[in-house]
């Protein structure tokens, strides 16, 4: 029961962050919240007893890809 409630809270937060990614005014904010989103997904993976996927998602999704996004945003907003 406790697990269900906490998972529900996690999912609600996940959805909220996802909506923010889509509607956020600034692209940088969207990218940062995408990082948060990835961390939340990682948490869900841990709950689902998939530590291998969670590790990969944390490294690639939350770390590497966020870095890519920031670099790309930097390169497309000079001047």
């Amino acid at each position: 029961m406790m697990l269900n409630v906490s998972v529900a809270l996690l999912c609600a937060f996940l959805l909220l962050v996802a909506v923010y990614v889509v509607v956020a005014r600034s692209v940088l904010a969207a990218i940062i919240s995408m990082g948060v989103f990835s961390m939340l997904v990682t948490a869900v993976f841990v709950v689902l007893r998939a530590p291998d996927v969670a590790v990969t998602e944390a490294v690639i999704g939350a770390g590497l890809i966020t870095a890519f996004f920031v670099i790309a945003l930097d390169k497309t907003s000079e001047q």
């Binding site: 697990l3 269900n4 998972v7 529900a8 999912c11 996940l14 959805l15 996802a18 909506v19 990614v21 889509v22 692209v27 969207a30 990218i31 995408m34 989103f37 990835s38 997904v41 869900v44 993976f45 689902l48 007893r49 998939a50 530590p51 291998d52 996927v53 990969t56 998602e57 690639i60 999704g61 590497l64 890809i65 890519f68 996004f69 670099i71 790309a72 945003l73 390169k75 497309t76 907003s77």
Partner: protein, 112 residues
């Protein structure tokens, strides 16, 4: 719990598709793709989940393990998604360099 997570996966897909159809900024388009992909991953990992099973890390004694095949699929999909994202971002940077825009609806070189 499975129901909650499945609903979340579908809802995330809906959010991602909405974003895909409404966002003008190309980087945000890529973000939407990442949301879509996370949703699928969630679904795939959910496929393997059994409430009574343990994570597929072998330990002593007889245990029920979560079936590891979907996890392998998910890991592969994450890697593929990352390379897709990287390639898309590379295209965006190139387009910005040569065309000076980051908005998808200004890409109309092929009108005729």
């Amino acid at each position: 719990m499975e129901a909650i997570l499945a609903t979340t996966a579908f809802a995330l897909t809906a959010i991602g598709l909405y974003g895909l159809l409404t966002c003008r900024h190309m980087i945000r388009l890529v973000l939407c793709f990442n949301i879509l992909e996370a949703a699928v991953l969630l679904a795939i990992v959910l496929l393997a989940y059994r409430p009574e099973a343990l994570a597929p890390l072998v330990r002593d004694g007889e245990h029920a393990y979560v079936f590891p095949l979907p996890h392998a699929l998910a890991v592969t999909a994450i890697v593929i998604g990352a390379s897709l994202t990287a390639l898309m971002l590379a295209f965006i940077v190139r387009i910005y360099k040569s065309r000076g825009t980051v908005y998808i609806d200004e890409l109309k070189e092929w009108r005729r």
